[in-house]
Amino acid sequence: MSFRAELVIDEPLEKVLDDSDFLDERMIKAFSTFKSVGSNIFGIRRRAVSSDEIVDPRKGNISVLCELGPNGVNRHQFTSNSFHVLASGVPHRVPHSFGYWHINDMEELFLKFAGAPGQDGYSLVIMRRPTGREGESFASYCESCFTLMYERRVATGRFGLGEFWRAERETVAAYNADPKLRTCPECGHLNPIGYVWNASKDTPEEQQARTQW
């Protein structure tokens, strides 16, 4: 006997995840930040995706992923229909999306693709769910000389994703409140304030910073 799966969400989300289409409009909101499912973490957002540009309605152009390596910043231009695999441990940030450098013990898998004609496309992030001592960091590097100025590590393997968002907000707030933290100990450059991933949490100053870097 066979039957076709139909999605009728009248149960708690956790009960239906295994049988659901994550791109279904009724499901996708559950992944608008990040959601842990089994051994993976998924982030799924609807974005304007063209062949050479990714646009967020609140953040603007978020087409570039900055990756910091020994030779400086590599600016990766996201394109549609291409998996982008970011190695673990590489500090990275998306200008206008999150105003700090994220350093992850897990690799991150990105994929953007266009939607149906006239509709937004999809922006996916997939990573392995951290376990044990694994985690990630929020870091600040001097924009002038790339000296590491500030780093806070979060043990998401032990405490889960909830801890990530709380620590992100705390880290950005602490960094923004103290000009000493933003002043490079090597070259003396005063760096701009940071901002969190969720633009709705921005202060007026953070909103301004988001437009600038």
Binding site: M1, S2, F3, R4, A5, E6, L17, D18, D19, S20, D21, F22, L23, D24, V37, G38, S39, N40, F42, I44, L65, E67, G69, P70, N71, N74, H76, N81, S82, F83, H84, V85, L86, A87, S88, V90, M106, E107, L109, L111, F113, A114, G115, A116, Y122, L124, I126, M127, R128, T131
Partner: protein, 180 residues
């Protein structure tokens, strides 16, 4: 080509394309393929609590196949795979047809092997099952082993005969696109 002095920060894999190879991408192994608009859709089938569930085809879909769930992709491979790792099945649509991907999380510490087998089409009983050591040979190696198991299954009607009800399982597709 990367040298020992290069630091690989990231790399790209096309989504779609014509290759049938699995690519190891850090914690993941990825298979991806484009199919033209004339091609029949690939259909995810799962066995949930002993029942066959055929997931409705949609132009955009992303399904998580949890570890331990017997599954196959009709039109792609003719065996039931039960993995210790989670697998994502992704479908998107372009003007040129459909893009498909299977994304297997091989980074999970619990993932050591896959089981390849079949179920009786009449009484649902398991009629053959082999454990493949995926942790040791990789997902690409596991798929090659599955292809060999399909050949053995197809070659011998006795292996395709249900020990419970004596129904004979039909011959099956070999592996990925090569069979269709």
């Amino acid at each position: 080509m990367a040298t020992q002095r290069d630091h690989v920060l990231s790399y790209d894999l096309p989504f779609g394309g014509a290759s049938d190879e699995w690519t190891r991408a850090g914690d993941y192994s990825i298979w991806t393929r484009s199919r033209g608009p004339e091609a029949a859709p690939l259909t995810l089938c799962k066995r949930v609590e002993g029942q066959l569930v055929e997931v409705a085809d949609k132009p955009y879909a992303m399904h998580n196949i949890p570890a331990g769930t017997p599954h196959r992709i009709a039109g792609l491979f003719g065996f039931w795979r039960t993995s210790e790792g989670d697998t994502v099945f992704l479908v998107t649509t372009t003007p040129q047809g459909r893009n498909y991907a299977l994304i297997v999380n091989t980074g999970s510490h619990a993932y050591k092997s896959d089981r390849v087998g079949w179920f009786c089409p009449q009484c649902n009983a398991a009629i053959a099952e082999t454990v493949v050591p995926t942790r040791r040979i990789g997902v690409d190696g596991a798929w090659r082993e599955a292809g060999k198991l399909v050949d053995v299954f197809n070659a011998d009607a006795a292996r395709r005969t249900c020990p419970g009800c004596a129904a004979v399982h039909p011959r099956v597709e070999r592996e990925l696109e090569r069979s269709s």
